[in-house]
Amino acid sequence: MSTSLSRFLSRVRAYFSKTDLDADLNQELEAHVAMLAEENVKNGMSPEDARRAALIRVGANESTREQHREERGLPWLDTLNQDLRYTFRAMRKDLGFALFAILIVGLGIGASCTIFSVVDALLLRPLPFNDPAALVWVQNHQVSDEDLSGQTTQVDYVRDLRRLSPSWKALGAYMPFYGIGDVLMVGTTKPVRLTRVGVSDNFFDMLGVNMLAGRNFNAQEADGKTKVIVVSYNFWKRELGANPNIIGSTLRFDDGAYQIVGVLPRTFDFGDVFAPGTKVDVFAVFPLDDNTNKWGNTLAVIGRLNPGVTIANAQSETGALGKRLRDEHKNDRNDYEPYLKPLSEHISGAVRPAVILLACAVGVVMLIVCANLSNLLLARGASRQKELAIRSALGATRARLIRQMLTESVVLSIYGALLGLILAFVGTRGLAQLSGVSIPMLGSVAVDLKALAFTVAFAILTGIFFGLVPAMHVPANRLNDSLQDSNRGSSTGRQHAWMRNAIVVSEIALASVLVVGAGLLIHSFLRVLDVNIGFHPEHAVTLRVDPAANLDTKAKVNAYFLDLLQHVNQIPGVSAAGITDALPYGTNRTWGAGEKGVQYKPGEFPFAFIGIVSPGYFKAMGIPVIRGRVFEMDDPIPPQIAVKDNQYQHDAYAVINETMARNVFHGEDPIGRQTNGGATIIGIVGDTRHLSLEKDSGNELYFSIIQTGDWASANLVVRTTLPNNVLATQLKNALAPIAPDLAVGNMRTVQSLVDKAVSPRRFVVMLLAGFAAFALILASLGIYAVVSYSVSQRTQEIGIRMALGASAASVRGAVMKQTLLLGAIGMCIGIVAAAALSSLLTALLFGVHAADVATFGVMLVVITLVAVVAGYFPARRASLIDPIIALRSE
């Protein structure tokens, strides 16, 4: 044990056994004095003189004892103890103030801690994988995140990269073109639709995810022929009763029985990471073979870099290799152009600006909280001048008094933090359980040790910060001044009035900035909600109705679809029904979509988002038909349909949207003309904003589901005025003969799809609006406190004025003028600051300019109103002052 440590431990022990040690010391000193006195007597002194001389020589007085205590114990802790005792006494004496301070600090720290947890989960914390820094998102082309076909990769490129590229320790992939509720779980009492994602056999190993139970897929299962699955933690808990012995048992799906080989750990939620807002239940092997290669771009590729390889190295190496491979396979493969970015950036890059904005906003809120408390403490400090003066007269140094004041503010702050932590626990739980919000990693938001440490540190800093200004106003050696000053109750107020005014002005300025920020985002949000999305989500529900596996010919499937639509249409209250393979805001895919016979320059070949839909779909979705006609029940059914064969478009019909008519046919009448695949265009429908509410539709090209087999999911869309539960029963009954396994529990409203698409924006707007509202309340309290304090300080002055003939109205006016002046200065600063900062918001704005005059105008009105309300009560009180009472009051 080191010397300083053993010394420290001794000091701690000494701190707790003061009484014993004091007795010890007394005894020791007593013995010493006695021995010295004896010696003195021997030298010829009288006993009294001997003892007196001994006492002087030893210095056995209180100061020696005090020094001894300081040397042996923890003097700073003693002081702190005293300060704390004093603080608690002061708090009890002014309970109202203490509770108020704790409440606003608590709200502020609660918000800060919650946002910190969000920032931590989304931006700071490494992904829940082993060595996540080496994980790279290998997308195809540097394109937007919406066009899935554009950024996914064909199977053979991955096989080639695995073979040829030295950069990668492992390359894995998942198949992002899965649909929600792709597979039907049968054999249970109630059929349930599950979401199943296909992954390469090494996917979980590559990520470094360790199974909670069982094992990952192995190389023997890579061909996908052995039917094995890995289940998610949530699915295991929800559907399998968290049975630890579940490994090896089988689950029956509509496409066969699968053996469970592994259970994923709780820390890895696939949806949370890769598909925010969706719940993925089970995982099966997606084989990387010649067959899946024919499917085109199907893979979202993730790689783990070899040790020592940087992402820049890998980009140049893999980029060059990709280019070579693409040139070699110009004729037999899709285009390839690898673009690498850190996996963490792919996952949270999109939400980063919003999260940083929230962190800044909560910081501003905390500044306002601190300003508010500073102000209150200043006002309170003024009334405590006398008490402080007395303490300093009794020997307290200025440093000691400042420490006392800081102790008080830190204690308030820590109590606030306790309240804040409770709020943050509730807040983070709420956030983590939000479903249908497409923000990545939201499920892992929680108050953890890091957040706890942050909160404690933050609370102490906050306490020091808001206590510093008031503490510095502790009188220094002006004992007389203070004692007299407080008696008069005038000049102290004046002396620090500018400081209080400055604090309130900064509060108003900060609140203005927040109100402008929140205003701009609310404005954007309203614009987004107001946008014409091209379809009518209200009164429409959707449900998976994929044909059963035993319908093995196209004719049987078509008969099933037509039968199904007929049955649904007969339900009273249903006005339209249709089927699609691509719901808005879900997965999407693009195909080349030019006009037949036109030669396009390289790189200019048009692409279109593909929808395979049934007759009735456009009506059910509320998509308007602009020209021509859409698919009908009695459209001819091609005799032979080969899946994945571009030739199928012969004899088929196509419907395009207005954008495609404009882009591909340049305003000429496209009806009757043919696509490059050979389908004949029969009609034009309206554009739909299917990627996101903020994004244009792009080209959209629809084919009939009864004329092609190239679709992966069948989503029934029903337009109805019936309540959901009634419709569910009706559907169940109506479709019992043809679809006995219908999982009506998985029915969703189309509106919920839209809601999910705007959820990140709604999330940010709600939080920011909350912060702005809190800031306004604090600012109004700040104004109120300052104005009402100044009124109470000026009671005598106002009394004199009124005695000299000032009317109540003019007194009221003077106070209001003071209030509005503070407000005006604050707003001026706020406007400048907001104008400077609002450009940072640009990435989050939609349809609103960062310098939107209306939003700034609203801010001015709101802040002025707040100032008027906050100033009115003190002004009224001032005008009701009775001159006689005021003059006699002291």
């Binding site: 005894q27 020791e28 000193l29 010493h32 010295l36 001894h68």
Partner: protein, 116 residues
């Protein structure tokens, strides 16, 4: 020598003197240690004898000396201090340090003004 000068010397060296005294004389009580140091230093370091207890508690806490209650030669209850093994080690290092510094200072002080 003023009080100021005395106490400055004391700050730096009292620990060392106490350790050396206990090392040389064996177990002693506070009064004895104070007397001994005074005698040796020919009263040059005479200050408040109570100060010795600050030094003693410090050394005890550092585990360089140990303390036990005992009975003095005059049959009085007193606390006796004795140097520990760690204290001896410390004394050795401190002595070496002291001698080195003293040697250097001595040489410096002996320097004759050299020709320019």
């Amino acid at each position: 020598m003023t009080e100021q000068q005395k106490s400055e010397i004391l700050q730096g060296t009292l620990d060392l003197m106490v350790l050396k005294t206990l090392d040389a004389m064996g177990s002693m009580h506070g009064y004895g240690i104070a007397r001994r140091i005074e005698q040796i230093s020919a009263e040059a370091l005479a200050v408040n004898q109570g100060t010795i207890y600050l030094c003693l508690i410090r050394l005890v806490q550092k585990k360089w000396i140990s303390a036990t209650w005992g009975v003095s030669e005059n049959n009085r209850k007193a606390k006796f201090y004795a140097i520990t093994k760690r204290g001896r080690k410390q004394l050795l290092t401190e002595t070496e340090n002291w001698e080195r510094v003293a040697g250097v200072i001595g040489k410096v002080l002996k320097l004759e003004p050299s020709e320019r």
